[in-house]
Subunit: 265 residues, 2 copies
DNA sequence: CGCCCACTTGAACGTGTTCAAACGTCGTGG
DNA sequence: CCACGACGTTTGAACACGTTCAAGTGGGCG
């Protein structure tokens, strides 16, 4: 409860406009993301372009899906930032991943009925809900595509493992360094960032909940990283000042992301 | 390096006897495991029974596959215990999962070329290496089976997330309680344990490397759990004295394992 | 202007680490 | 049969990293 709660009561402006909707650029964004996972044939792309879904706009800190639910759709994150999290009995929160536009953070719900964690927005977001059936039809039609999605979930598992190592065996300084390396690399891979500055709309409390540290210690450790000339992070904007140094500090090796496209910087 | 190292130089008694081998009971064990993930039709079972592989016996603390390798086979763990791990630059180790007979801990290698972590035995083990091609043929032949395997990897990811929460947000006592609840539940689900006592061939150092704590603190925390009458753990043998208490201490809810069969106890 | 929220800073505290020594058991070799 | 070494475990004591509590700063927005 001391944490800034994801507020499930915020179900406000849910501007849905039909069931066969889509959003401009959605398919390109998804195809670009899948392209970082593996290669797509032209017919695969064709098939993907037939995907339709229900568009939904969400407020910051609104749940896309909540723990315990049994969704019949997956959520394509078209715009905005999101994260996976769990809340413990004592009220403390662990964030397990961050998500950027182009991600489908709950592909797993295709095969695992019950959500064992929640998925919430961090910013205003646009999500396209695609029926499970539509996804499974796509897989049946384009066999290469399910392999890509499977590979995507396996890469996600690899990222979880990497976070486990950070949480279990790295100390705060390296843990944070690494926590910044990862999304920068991912955003580069889908072309969401060009230079050394990127939008990363997180509060220090959220960083703490992802890194398993208190917000106070996040503040202090960020100061260290700043004083060492590695980065600045204010108002949800991250500026990388010394990529090499940051990589060294976090022992970051992008290999675990298994990206097909060239990695960051 | 202060850790009991997985010794890759121990490649000793590698009794391979051909390429089309199998091992008695292997298919039943695999089918039983898959049965905890989802339901299999009779034709699915037929198809699975055609799987063949190269049998390999391994010493304790021998790598099944090592980080950086690009395997062309998956490893079915027929007998013995194994774990996934990574070693950091400073020499510290993080164990990311434990594996019991019936598991195929590196299904991911079907779709991710390069191993981003190592997989090593904890005890003498028997492994059956199955060619990637044989697995992919099986998937093509029995479409329901790939769904099951995919679901299996998704459940594995769910377990990683649960460990992340433990590493990031739980303190030692609950973290260990939970660490014991999990394998007991899993072993019950595949019928490897009946009563309250089970073989869990881990040293305190290995438990520490899984729980992100020092072996010294593992020793102290085990003493607490023992003094509280929850369990005893000596010589690789775990005795559950108070399952309810252990579950409470670890806030353990088996839901994240998404087992189809009835859960432990 | 004033409030709210995120961030910062200081100080005390606590959980868990590190270092070090000692114990028990088991397997090996004299 | 006993001595010895290896290894896992236990225990103590000092220490460190990170937490918690508390107060204060600063910016954004009504």
């Amino acid at each position: 409860m001391p944490k800034p709660p994801h507020n499930p009561n915020l179900h406000l402006v849910e501007s849905e406009n039909g069931n066969g909707d889509t959003v401009p650029g959605m398919h390109d964004r998804l195809i670009r993301k899948l392209g970082t996972i593996g290669s797509l044939s032209e017919s695969d792309r064709e098939a993907i372009r037939t995907l339709k879904g229900r568009v939904r706009r969400l407020q910051p800190y609104e749940d896309i899906v909540s723990e315990g639910e049994r969704p019949s759709v997956v959520a394509f994150l078209h715009a905005g930032f999101a994260c996976r999290y769990k809340i413990l009995q004592g009220g403390s929160r662990q964030i397990m991943s961050f998500h950027i536009p182009g991600d489908i953070p709950d592909v797993q719900s295709l095969f695992i009925e019950r959500m064992d964690h929640s998925l919430g927005t961090l910013t205003e977001s646009t999500v396209v809900h695609i029926e499970h059936k539509a996804m499974l039809d796509l897989f049946a039609q384009a066999p290469n595509v399910w392999r890509l999605f499977w590979r995507g979930t396996l890469i996600e598992a690899s990222v979880f493992r990497e976070w486990m190592v950070g949480l279990g065996r790295r100390e705060a300084y390296g843990r944070l360094a690494r926590l910044f390396c990862e999304p920068v690399t991912q955003m580069h891979s889908v072309g969401l960032v060009e230079g050394k500055i990127c939008e990363l709309p997180l509060t220090q409390a959220e960083i703490g909940d992802a890194a398993g540290m208190s917000n106070v210690h996040v503040s202090r450790t960020l100061k260290e990283l700043r004083d060492d000339g590695l980065l600045t992070f204010t108002g949800g904007s991250l500026a990388i000042l010394d990529w090499e140094g940051l990589v060294r500090a976090g022992e970051f090796d992008a290999g675990y992301l298994h990206l097909k496209t060239a990695s960051a910087q």
